[in-house]
Amino acid sequence: MSDATRPVLGDGPVCPLPLPDHDTVLLAHGGGGRLTQRLIEELLLPAFDNPELRRLHDGAVLEAPPGRLAFSTDSFVVSPLFFPGGDIGSLAVHGTVNDLAMCGATPLWLSVSLILEEGLPLATLRRIVASLQRAAQAIPVSIVTGDTKVVGRGQADGVYINTAGIGVVRPGVDLAPQHARVGDVVLLSGPLAAHGMAIMSLRESLGFETALRSDSAALHGLVARLLETAPQAVHVLRDPTRGGVASALNEIAAAATVGFCLEERAIPVADGAREACELLGLDPLYVANEGVFLAIVAAEAADALLAALRADPLGHAAAAIGTVTAAHPGRVVLRTTIGGTRVVDMLSGEQLPRIC
């Protein structure tokens, strides 16, 4: 729609100036009127540019590729919006892409829905949108549809983002938590706890300086390496985000009615994260990650699969951390560094720091 054909509401003149950076998000940006249109045309469309989006239709009409499709959605409410190693924009892309990757799918399309708080600086929104775009382009995955809503000041915390994604599952791949088998080996693609501790050190005004960076990363490439090496031998993939490795493995143990036995010594924890966890009395097994995954694989292929992970920079610290057992079905048991054993239960409530 050219400026000349834009309807003029009220008596005011139409201002064709681009959205200035010092401006903030107004309720009218979500009202469906002219400001909404300008937000889409001047900020969102240029960033996410692709033919499907340019049609400005109510939804994307897509040509389905042969094979089975994976479909996933995730919402992002991280605070602060920007953190060392990422921001809510890149996280929103990585999160959904990783969920698709855990299904064994190559990501194809994303939707992006933004819920903006009135008063959010447009410059902030611009940064987030640029980050969404960069992360999507790097994968690559197309953002083919989206939505923007604005809520009143105080009714959200800056920006919330929902992304949904569609990917095509590689032929011959069938991943599900129920496929964990007794004797399988548990691989972990990288060191734990970097994301959760990086966010925590920013958010809780803990007063200690860390060089911790979130591990936020797209994992589809690393997954592809595994699936190219031995597609049949990979039984379950899971990214241990909220609730950490402990919750992820407990869920799989329940779904497959198997037990897990982990070796504490073998579990890599990110430099800095381990020290921060010690100080705060937190267990790295429960801390959130955004750039590692668990692979439960057939024992005979475990070495080859581990080597495949380690050949990738993202997986260089990958380790075999445990096995699937027939004993104690539904439970995760850890052999501690000193040779004792303990149960690793689901997280109950939030992890809290020690107080004395």
């Binding site: 809780e204 005004s205 803990l206 007063g207 430099d271 381990r274 020290e275 010690e278 705060l280 009395g281 267990d283 439970r331 052999r335 501690t336 560094t337 000193i338 040779g339 004792g340 054993t341 303990r342 149960v343 239960d345 109950s348 409530g349 939030e350 809290l352 720091p353 020690r354 107080i355 004395c356």
Partner: protein, 364 residues
């Protein structure tokens, strides 16, 4: 990467040699108590208790300040937090401890401004940031954290903050040990005292206790090797019929403690009688603000209208805290009482014995 003062105290080979030394020194069945909940958690988190000789019984002590905070004080904090416009700050664990009818976390969900802080001094900062609001810090802890609580009052005074006050749930360890020892039902023969408490207060206070009740008391740290060395000291002393205080935690504790911290503590607080959840009123076991600082006492600034304190009838926290019952022996454990729906504080606190068993031993 090695985490100093942590990894060297978690070495599997050394653990085994200390276990062997304990087994060799154990001349008969013995019962020991680790006083501090942090030590209880180390035993269970590393599976250390199961590696100890069977003839050695460990009893978990009352050393969890959250757990022993009396229900009337939780109710008082809830009543204060419910006042419109007021901001109440506390440590995370305190938010989930059930009062008679409610807990702070639920109150927060219903609109009260309850904040989690990691240091008592953060609460003073909150008072500075909100000069038009009353800010109350619900402080809890043993001698370890008491000096930092004293500093809140000194800092608030220095900054001329009239909107800051402290609700003190601070308690002292030696009176609790004395109470346990004086109990005819006591079966504990030796104690592992909490190293960090002694880092502040020193261990001179334990000498009269050890002499009076003829027990070994070993000042002990929190890592697996610390605990094994502490147990070894205690077992050797019992085998030889010795009593007295020994210091395993020499890297952090000196006999005289930390004089600067003690001075801050003495300047602001005085000793008072205090009810302990599960143990009753223990004489001279709590800390309250001295007369000169009473204006910063939240209990006086916001008096509780009508106390309604009532413990949950199914909760046997008292017996757990006195070492008379292990958590799994409580009928409510893991059934009516879980970390999501705790009946008592020991299921909530990161130092609580019930939480340690639930988390590391699990329930079928």
């Amino acid at each position: 990467m090695i985490v100093r003062y942590v990894d060297e105290y978690r070495q599997g080979e050394q653990v085994q040699s200390w276990l062997d030394a304990i087994a060799a020194a154990l001349t008969r069945p013995m019962t020991l108590m680790e006083v501090c909940g942090g030590q209880t958690h180390t035993f269970l988190r590393f599976g250390l208790d199961a590696l100890l000789p069977e003839a050695l019984t460990l009893v978990h002590g009352p050393g969890c300040p959250v757990c022993v905070t009396p229900i009337e004080l939780i109710d008082h904090a809830l009543a204060i937090a419910a006042q419109p416009g007021l901001l109440l700050a506390s440590f995370g664990d305190m938010l989930r401890v059930p009062g008679t009818r409610d807990d702070l976390r639920s109150l927060k969900a219903r609109g009260a401004d309850v904040r989690i802080v990691y240091s008592p001094l953060d609460a003073v900062r909150l008072a500075q940031q909100h000069p038009d609001r009353q800010v109350v810090f619900f402080g809890v802890g043993f001698e370890t954290t008491a000096p930092a609580h004293a500093l809140t009052v000194l800092q608030a005074h220095q900054a001329g903050l009239s909107n800051f006050s402290l609700l003190s749930a601070l308690v002292l360890v030696p009176p609790a040990i004395a109470t346990l020892l004086a109990d005819p039902a006591n079966r504990v023969e030796a104690f592992l005292a909490a190293g960090h408490v002694c880092a502040v207060m020193g261990y001179g206070q334990y000498e009269p206790l050890a002499a009076r009740y003829r027990v070994p008391i070993v000042v002990t740290g929190f890592e697996p090797l610390d605990l094994l060395q502490g147990i070894h000291c205690a077992v050797r002393a019992l085998a030889a019929g010795h009593s007295g205080v020994e210091n395993q935690y020499r890297r952090a504790v000196q006999r005289e403690g930390n004089p600067a911290a003690q001075q801050a503590l003495k300047r602001v607080f005085e000793v008072c009688d205090r009810p302990w959840r599960g143990l009753g009123v223990l004489p001279a076991s709590g800390l309250r603000l001295r007369e000169a600082w009473r204006t910063y006492d939240a209990a006086e600034r916001f008096p509780l209208a009508e106390p309604i304190a009532r413990e949950h009838p199914e909760c046997l926290a008292g017996e757990v805290l006195r070492g008379l019952r292990k958590p799994p022996a409580c009928p409510a454990f893991g059934a009516a009482c879980t970390p999501e729906h705790p009946l008592g504080a020991p299921m909530v606190s990161s130092e609580g014995a019930c939480a340690a068993y639930y988390r590391y031993r699990s329930v079928t």
